[in-house]
């Protein structure tokens, strides 16, 4: 479970980086904002193998993912504690 979550966090950060680089907003003739994805997906642009083979995820990104994972775990522990307390009261 932890592995899956960690992979997901990394994937999310990685995707955000890619899209920040690739997507530029323009305006069309009606004055409305438009964006051309040029044949790319929105969100996950690669498969999981490509992500695992990629070496560009730096230490800072991993540290941030670990931080988020810790927050998530603490939140789950607190929730579990509350549930146990409620069950004990019952």
């Amino acid at each position: 479970m932890k592995k899956i979550l960690f992979a997901f966090i990394l994937l999310t950060i990685f995707n955000n980086k890619i899209h920040a680089k690739d997507e530029e907003q323009n305006k069309n003739n009606n004055g409305l904002k438009t964006k051309d994805y040029s044949g790319k997906e929105i969100g996950n642009p690669t498969d999981s193998n490509a992500i695992s083979n990629d070496q560009s995820v730096d230490q800072k990104t991993i540290d941030e993912a670990m931080k988020q994972l810790k927050i998530y775990q603490e939140r789950r522990q607190q929730e579990q504690k509350i549930i146990e307390e409620i069950n004990n009261e019952d």
Binding site: L32, K33, G39, I42
Partner: protein
């Protein structure tokens, strides 16, 4: 994230106007749930072959622990029939699921509180016009747009929505849902940009039946 919300958007916007559906074209929206949780929402055409129309939707919350989600719906178009569009297939995938899974028909049509898909089954123009408030020019993140304002009410939920034929192919410009009964029915959706050239994420030919994990994600019972 609620599947029912999206059904509403798709059905309404696609059944109201007969457009040309260019694969990869669509709209991106900013969706705000309960005034705090922001969702990046994109809706675009995934396939358009004869009477079959595929529409894919991408959602990602600002909460990093929520998975990204893709949903794809296949509509059968019945030009001149009583119901111009009928959903025949539905698929979904999240970043935690390896492959896309099929959403069972019973899950698509399940009864829910408030305004649901069947409230948007219009067959005649005068049925749509019943909900019309007025023509309005509104300012959204994408720019200033001439729209028609509609309103629907049911079970304590009110949905105000603004539609523009010029916003092809999805048509929806803005939607505001309010409810005193259910917190999850308080949300807004606003057009941020028109999009083109999007490659669909889900390939229906490589999908699997609904798994237990998938059923849990969609909060539906697996038979």
């Amino acid at each position: 994230m609620k599947t029912s919300i999206i059904f509403i958007l798709l059905y309404y916007s696609l059944s109201t106007y007969a457009n040309d559906y260019t694969v990869g074209s669509g709209s991106e929206y900013k969706m705000v749930l309960n005034k705090s949780n922001t969702v990046h929402l994109a809706i675009y055409v995934s396939q358009s072959i004869f009477e079959k129309l595929g529409v894919e939707m991408y959602m990602k919350s600002n909460d990093m622990l929520s998975p990204e989600m893709w949903q794809q719906f296949i509509f059968k178009m019945d030009v001149g029939g009583n119901f111009p569009l009928k959903i025949t297939e539905a698929y979904f995938q999240t970043s935690t699921l390896k492959i896309a899974e099929r959403i069972p028909y019973e899950a698509m049509i399940r009864k829910q509180d408030g305004i649901t898909l069947d409230n948007f089954f219009f067959t005649k123009q005068k049925e749509i016009d019943k909900d019309k408030i007025k023509d309005e020019t509104i300012e959204v993140a994408a720019g200033q747009i001439k729209t028609t304002h509609y309103r629907k009410k049911r079970d304590g939920q009110t949905i105000d929505f603004w539609i523009a034929e010029s916003i092809k192919p999805i048509s929806l410009v803005k939607l505001v849902s309010t409810s005193s009964k259910k917190d999850e029915n308080n949300y807004t959706i606003e057009l941020t940009t028109l999009i083109s050239g999007v490659r669909p994420h889900i390939n229906p030919d490589k999908s699997a039946p609904l798994s237990k994990e998938g059923a849990d994600i969609l909060s539906i019972k697996k038979h």
